[in-house]
Amino acid sequence: MKVKVTINGVAYERDVQPRTLLAYFLRESCGLTGTHIGCDTSSCGCCVVVMDGGRAVKACAMFAVQADGHEIMTVEGLANGGTLHPLQQGFWDQHGLQCGYCTPGMMLTSYALLKQNPNPSEAAIREGLAGNLCRCTGYQNIVKAVQQAAEKMREPVSAR
């Protein structure tokens, strides 16, 4: 089946089997390996991407054909050229990662969360990330990273 998906602003047209999961489509058909596959059964959140600008989805529980005609944002779409996205900078500054495996999913879930709620409480961040598992950090620094990013993203663009 032919699918046309806009990923990080770039149109990708590919011929896929309907059973191809979005996570595998991104990694294997499009070469965007920043989207990680963890549990493969929608439990861990490693594969989260953002659909149509604001909805976080687990790419292992969605078929690529379902993304036909839609926009997907992956971790590769966060940075603007050489400038890290405030979420990436937050994870860097606050040591929000150790092995880094869960990080793309953490950042994309946070991206959607901050779109919906630019000024979340600590509890709202923890709740929003409840579907993303991390085995290294103990989560404290991930929460701090998102808090830092949220603050940065609330500033007017000129002040960044």
Partner: protein
Amino acid sequence: MIPAAFEYVRAHSPDEALAQLQKHGADARVLAGGQSLIPAMRFRLARPAVLVDINGISSLDYIRVTDGTLSVGAIARDSAVEHSSWIADRKWSLLHDVSRVVADPVVRQTGTIVGSLCHNDPAGDWTAAALAARASVVVRGKSGARTLAIDDFLVDSFTTAVSDGEMALEVRFPVPDDRSAGSYQKVERKVGDFATAAAAVQVSLGADGTLRTAGVALSAAGPCAVRVDEAERLLVGQKPGADLIRAAAAAAAKKSAPQGDLRGSVAYKKNLAGVLVARGLRQAFERLGVKI
């Protein structure tokens, strides 16, 4: 874990979806949120030959309250209920509670209420809530639509009254009166895990302070969610009190018929079902301003 091959069909209207479902009969499944179906296909627990994707049918994406009924369309997401403006009213507290503990916040942005009912997982959340809230489901097929009480809709594990060539279009919840409240109590090992046990409770009080109606249901307590009719009978007509709560909880523990697994033994889960019904009743009464 790649699903078995299937044919993918995108429906743009309920009629189109039904035509496809009737064409393919037992080989076809509806794809709504897919948050249960797709993992099941990956485990090869489900191997539909045809998937009819209804996500493009925008006319099924609604949540509306009319004529004393809350209607939720087939592709309304869990998160849409969770973030509805009316949900904070105590009479909707059962649905509010459920909408915040189904799977995890990301899955809830894709998963649907009707899809969850159709999946009818023994440990599902919406199934128990629908029983306690006395919901009904609108099912459409070749010869028109029929409305089924949720008790008749839920048949067995992963089985509903939806026949081949039919689809569930909507779930309806009666709007509870103002002196109503509910509660959903769930014990899970981690966010997103299936319930070890869960209890849904919905009550309303009459002018004299006695219980006018009561709905009590359990999840992870049998082949599919189960109504605790004995607890409901005990509650109706009585004044809320500690002894009454104990009796209802005992009825729930008795009714619970769980499977022992890594989440707990049969004895533990039966006991837990009673504990959760007691907690749920206490919370519902508290929400109604009744001190026990």
